[in-house]
Symmetry: D2
Subunit: 109 residues, 4 copies
């Protein structure tokens, strides 16, 4: 098992990492940054773990499933936090995080 078999989860993780980086950066430019503080924090953690998960999967690592299990938890938490805000980047990020959490749950199963 490896890159081609796991491609939909790899793509979801890479997409999620990018959207989290975008959301965190966009949150710092919002009028009420304080309201976005939790979102920025979760985005940063989520981007870090999503990319590491994509790396292990791309390498066909036997540890990929374990990492995807943690990744699913973080994506879900990040999606919940982003989902509280009506800004476009937060709504987009919430949606992508939830899709990624689902892909990672399937990988980890």
């Amino acid at each position: 098992m490896g890159y081609h078999e796991w491609k939909s989860c790899i793509d979801a993780c890479l997409q999620c990492a990018a959207v989290c980086n975008h959301c965190a950066s966009s949150c710092t430019k919002e009028e009420d940054v304080k309201m976005m503080a939790g979102c920025i924090e979760m985005d940063m953690q989520c981007a870090a773990v999503c990319y590491a998960s994509a790396q292990l999967m791309s390498m066909g690592s036997p540890h990929a499933k374990q990492l995807c299990s943690i990744c699913a938890d973080i994506c879900e938490a990040c999606g919940n936090e982003c989902g509280k805000h009506q800004t476009e980047h937060c709504q987009e990020c919430a949606r992508i995080c939830k899709e990624c959490a689902e892909e990672c749950r399937k990988m980890a199963a």
Copy 2:
């Protein structure tokens, strides 16, 4: 300028990072690993810079263009190295590297 305007280059960089990780790992499993040594080395460097480029672009960084210029050089060098080998993962990696080099050149221009 940022995530949405730069999305095709971000996607190319993320795809390239994943395929390089896959190619490096696959190269270590080939019969003649020694022949693949240069490919593994380039894949590792290319994955590192592609991901950093995707990060800066996703964050809308004013330094993204500069980094994409280096990324284009590394993708081109990696694509040339991979292109020497007939294995499927090397051919796939060569193609993706060249597409990414082109996207990064456009970004850097």
Copy 3:
């Protein structure tokens, strides 16, 4: 040239990446997060490029010098931004960023 010759710059970049991640996260917990917005943004970009620079240097890449030149610029910009704030994590980050900028300038020379 590679890991052992470049070790002081590698260590500076890794330290800088970690301190930037810490500073960004700590900034989101400050009373006046809005004042910290620019600092969070710079921290995120700086961490990304510092880690990629450490990677290329550790791999002994011929592209390491080029990347360290960009890294020096980002570290300097991040250090200047962090230096505006009196919080302990910003002052610590400003100092580490400036040391890293100096190490990267030497590498790039």
Copy 4:
């Protein structure tokens, strides 16, 4: 809990990531690359997870302990693989991996 409390584990993970990148790259330059194939593979996976662990710890993430538990397993596996080879970079990497595994086990406890 966060950056300063977890600093010895963060430093161990960053050091381990750098040494793994160095070892993988050095392995590709050995006379008998085929013998090093497993080492290169483990180095790549170990570097990826060590850096993600350092990131989560630097951010003070509540998920850091979980990730350090996986990281300890991968560092141990990588250290065992590297320990089979007498080259200086493999012996150095084996030692750093084992120290990092120990730090990560303490974090995860």
